[in-house]
Symmetry: C2
Subunit: 341 residues, 2 copies
């Protein structure tokens, strides 16, 4: 620990006043208390001289606030979440708020433990990317009136603030593009999951295919979260045999591993099969590919900034009943991989 930190009492003694006055002089921005201009200057200067750093533990204990928020992601080493974390951190830092970060690895027990730890630390609120089977924890938070904002995924039956993508629109854009290019046999490749955003992406695909009268062409392949590359090695050849002309992926990871497999088996994109990926945030990946990859773009920074702004308001007003759901809009970045050749 630092040798011996200056406290408000030390300053009070040095100046020859009470600790209360020091506190007023240092904090009272809105002049609720009456302190002479001169005294304020004097105290501030002594504080600076003595290198005073307020003790936040004491501050929190007294005020009940910590100026700290908890951010719980599924995995910080996933670029999409890392970028979001980064944005939140920037915003928070700007506002003088500290961020605690935790990864759940989609493990509900880890999730629950993280929430408890953060609650103990007294975070003022949470920004959470919920994982599967964790509704009950979120519900608990909401019922306890803890300020919470969900990101990326949400629960329709929970009165909770959230910032999500219009996921149905996202895949619709993809189908629009492929249909416009003349593709008809379009397959959607996704995970086995109940997570809302992924499910919505499927819905969007299905609805859009219907819109174009392609009910008979609707086809979805679902794989497990584990061993994606291995699974793709089995799946992709089958898909091609089925005569599929174009692929839409529900996530980036799926797209990348499929592209790897396509390269392995010597198939060309888009000549042999067209591709639209979801999210270009693993940018580098596509950079090195021989053709530019079309993808659905999410406004990543907005996830972070909006979530932080909603949470701030929740914390300030203290009224968690007044929740807010922000829906962000996807954009299709059409490049070579979805062109009809």
């Amino acid at each position: 620990m630092v040798a011996k930190r200056t406290t408000i009492k030390d300053i009070a003694e040095a100046v020859g006043v009470s600790t209360a006055l020091v506190s007023f002089a240092l904090n009272d921005g809105n002049k609720k208390y009456r302190v002479s201009e001169e005294m304020v200057r004097k105290i501030r200067s002594v504080a600076r001289e003595m290198n005073y750093q307020p003790n936040s533990a004491a501050k929190s204990l007294r005020s009940g606030r910590t100026d700290t928020i908890g951010v719980i992601l599924s995995d910080i080493s996933n670029r999409f979440f890392a970028d979001i974390a980064r944005c939140i951190e920037d915003e928070a830092s700007e506002a003088g708020i500290t961020v605690m970060i935790g990864s759940t690895d989609e493990n509900p027990r880890k999730f629950e433990r993280l929430v408890d730890v953060f609650l103990n630390k007294g975070v003022d609120g949470f920004i959470i990317v919920p994982c599967e089977k964790s509704v009950h924890v979120i519900r608990r938070l909401v019922e306890a009136k803890v300020p919470v904002v969900l990101i990326d995924r949400t629960y329709a039956d929970l009165d909770v603030s959230s910032v999500t993508l219009n996921n149905r629109k996202a895949t619709m854009l993809a189908v629009d593009e492929l249909y416009g290019q003349g593709f008809r046999k379009i397959r959607f490749i996704t995970y086995h999951t109940t997570i809302s955003n992924i499910v919505d992406r499927e819905t969007g695909y299905v609805e859009s295919m219907r819109k174009y009268g392609l009910e008979d062409e609707i086809s979805v392949s679902k794989i497990k979260y584990e061993n994606i590359l291995e699974n793709m090695r089995k799946l992709i050849p089958q898909v091609l045999e089925d005569g599929v002309e174009a692929l839409i992926f529900s996530t980036n990871r799926l797209a990348i591993d499929s592209l790897v497999v396509l390269r392995e088996i010597g198939k060309k994109v888009p000549e042999d099969v067209a591709v639209i990926a979801f999210d270009g945030s693993e940018t580098f990946a596509f950079d090195l590919y021989y053709t530019t990859v079309s993808y659905i773009k999410q406004p990543i920074e907005k996830f972070g900034t909006e979530a932080f702004s909603v949470l701030s308001k929740l914390i300030k007003t203290g009224d968690t009943r007044d929740y807010k759901t922000v829906v962000l809009h996807p954009e299709l970045i059409a490049q070579e991989s979805s062109k009809k050749k």
Copy 2:
């Protein structure tokens, strides 16, 4: 804030004992205080029933410890650092310690502010990836006897714990491989910087070239940190005109952007020029490339685990004079991109 949290006082009243006894019953692992078995059971069960969660602000205020560490990186959305952060977080979580994360963007002022904020929050120690022009801040910490462990980069003139890579050995391995393959005109491409690890990589390259009697072939290209891709578009054609046969990059980012440029101008790897990248942590990038990329591998997880372990010891013993420098070892992953064809 949570409705109304149970305090130790509530439990004391419920059981009909003093708060001291409750504290003893809940915390005293080493039986320093004498509490009857029965009472311990009773208090613990009531605490569970009332869903007691200790107030960490109060705990910290009293004990001076927070069970929280500060991790300051250059950029959390950089995969290498995100992975390290992830490891630290895992280790910390295991040990019941919370992590606060901050990114400096290689900005010394941001760095200084983060350190101050974390100090105010009373972190028990720091794990830091230092950025340029921040020695003085680190020195201040060291002199104030704050437990600090530096990662990835360090300062030779500072008595501070660190976990770094044997960077000289890293580039030596690369030269070894290329020389072994028969390349002679080998160029090292790096940043303009004074950061220790990058400088060491250059030294390793130079020394190794000397070792093979290639003094005359020693050639280093340095570019600025900004607009890497643009800079590469100018640099790479020149390099090829110079008749360079092989490239060693001091960072991943440089390697990736160069590969992009090489593809853009229609040059083949390794036929037109061989390549060894630094660090394969942006794995995806290389996955999609048409050829497998040779790279110097850093034991990423070890950066995290070792740093945390060293820091834990520092915090426990409180003896920051007894610092420890861990040097990790690189490994060369030789693949297609460095083969002589």
